[in-house]
């Protein structure tokens, strides 16, 4: 491919190739503080023109790679960095067998991990980003990686993808300079990427022991309720992109996780309230 970049995010190394320079330049900017990868990439992502003339006429990006979902809708070139993110997500979600993957954000304090599982719109990514401004180390905004043998959480601190109102929220906590370019009109609406802070990048290879699992839900009156391990188990199988393909190893890792770690469903009206609830729940842990 004409243009390419190597990225190492936590334990995962990607090579992203592209028919256009734009998306690669945008990635280089977002990940400029990350140590460059050495060695062979784990996954390849290719941002390709759907047809040869699509490189120039109404350019649209088709996302391909080692793992693909065929017939995926192409994206505008202007949203190339989103295409790259989708491509990297797909590789991890479809191909990863070294860790149990959960759709969850995670932050670390004192060697212990807080894992926040939820769908798009639950606020898990914003909450993690805000906690990272309050002394927690950001481990990831979208994927939590659970070591199959030890149960430890590994960090995957990619540039945090923030949408719509979450962007304005985060601008209250961090300077504009920490953000990448603003994308409008994407399939997810308005989008900006937030670069993880220096601590998150420097410690991206440090694992942490899961100590608390939350299911956050933004936009509701403040409430917290313990969730039993059976319900947590079922919900986390829905939140995992590779539980089934992992077979026995996934079953062992997930049963171990839910029996060892308490879970709380947390409703919150705003992030400041959520941060307070998190601190209270964390302090109450044995």
């Amino acid at each position: 491919m004409r243009h390419a970049i190597g990225l190492k995010i936590g334990p995962v190394a990607f090579r992203v190739g592209s028919d256009w320079a734009g998306p690669i330049a945008a990635l280089a900017d977002l990940y400029r503080d990350y140590p460059p990868p050495t060695g062979v990439p784990d996954y390849t992502v290719r941002l390709e023109a759907a047809r040869p003339w699509r490189r120039w006429i109404r350019p649209s990006v088709t996302v391909r790679g080692d793992h693909m979902l065929p017939d995926a809708l192409p994206l505008d070139l202007a949203h190339g960095v989103l295409a790259a993110e989708i491509g990297m997500n797909l590789q991890l979600a479809l191909g990863e067998r070294r860790w149990l993957l959960l759709h969850a954000s995670s932050v670390e304090r004192d060697g212990r991990a807080l894992i926040m599982s939820g769908e798009s719109g639950s606020g898990k990514s914003t909450l993690a980003a805000v906690l990272a401004t309050r002394g927690w180390r950001l481990m990831g905004d979208e994927f939590a990686l659970i070591d199959l043998a030890t149960g430890a959480a590994r960090a995957f601190p990619r540039a945090t993808s923030l949408k719509n109102g979450a962007i304005d929220e985060m601008l209250r906590h961090v300077p504009d300079a920490r953000f990448g370019a603003a994308l409008t009109g994407t399939p997810k609406g308005r989008l900006r990427h937030l670069r993880p802070d220096a601590q998150a990048i420097a410690r991206m290879d440090a694992p942490a022991i899961p100590a608390l699992i939350l299911f956050p839900q933004f936009g509701r009156p403040e409430a917290a309720e313990a969730m039993g391990p059976a319900e947590t188990f079922v919900r986390l199988t829905q939140a995992s992109t590779n539980y089934v393909p992992l077979g026995r190893a996934g079953y062992d890792a997930l049963t171990r996780l839910v029996t060892a770690v308490p879970t709380v469903a947390v409703d919150y009206p705003d992030t400041d309230t959520a941060v307070g609830m998190v601190e209270q729940l964390w302090a109450a842990l044995p």
Binding site: V63, L69, P70, D71, A72, L73, L82, I86, N89, L90, A93, L94, H103, E119, S120, P187, K188, V234, T237, Q238, A239, S240, T241, Y243, V244, P245, G247, T255, T259
Partner: protein, 145 residues
């Protein structure tokens, strides 16, 4: 079942040590087991979704039969047999698309350009897919939606 990690169901009242005269063996040591109503369901089977990514999961495809059995024809019940076997149908020329599979499962639609017999054979083939076979995860995710 073996390998219980947390205590599983208790078994026979084992008399450990000398039995005391006033404790009858068996009856008083059995724990109650709730049987539930005959009509109730006691099994929850995990049917996870595939990747929750920006792209719809219905864009995944299933090759019928899987590449390792490429060229095989299909019996009505979904088993793969040599080409031209009596009673078997031709496989589809292309992998089946997620949306088509969903339409077949939910609405009884035929796969494009196929007979009812072919559609049934293809669906039964996919129902028999095991973990590790090409298309298994795609099919599980379509059924879960």
């Amino acid at each position: 079942m073996s390998e219980d990690r947390i205590d599983g169901p208790a078994h026979d009242a084992d008399v450990a040590g000398p039995a005391t005269a006033d404790v009858p063996a068996g009856a008083s040591r059995r724990r109650a087991l709730m049987l539930g109503a005959a009509g109730a369901s006691m099994v929850v089977t995990i049917r996870p979704a595939l990747a929750q990514t920006a792209t719809s999961v219905l864009t995944c495809e299933i090759p019928v039969p899987q590449p390792r059995q490429s060229g095989g024809w299909l019996l009505r019940d979904g088993t793969v047999v040599p080409p031209y076997t009596r009673g078997a149908v031709r496989p589809p020329y292309q992998p089946l698309k997620g949306q088509e599979i969903r339409d077949a499962l939910m609405n009884g639609r035929l796969y494009p350009g196929t007979t009812r017999e072919q559609t049934q054979a293809y669906t039964n083939y996919m129902l028999r897919l095991q973990n590790g076979q090409s298309g298994f995860t795609c099919f599980v995710s379509i059924r879960a939606k």
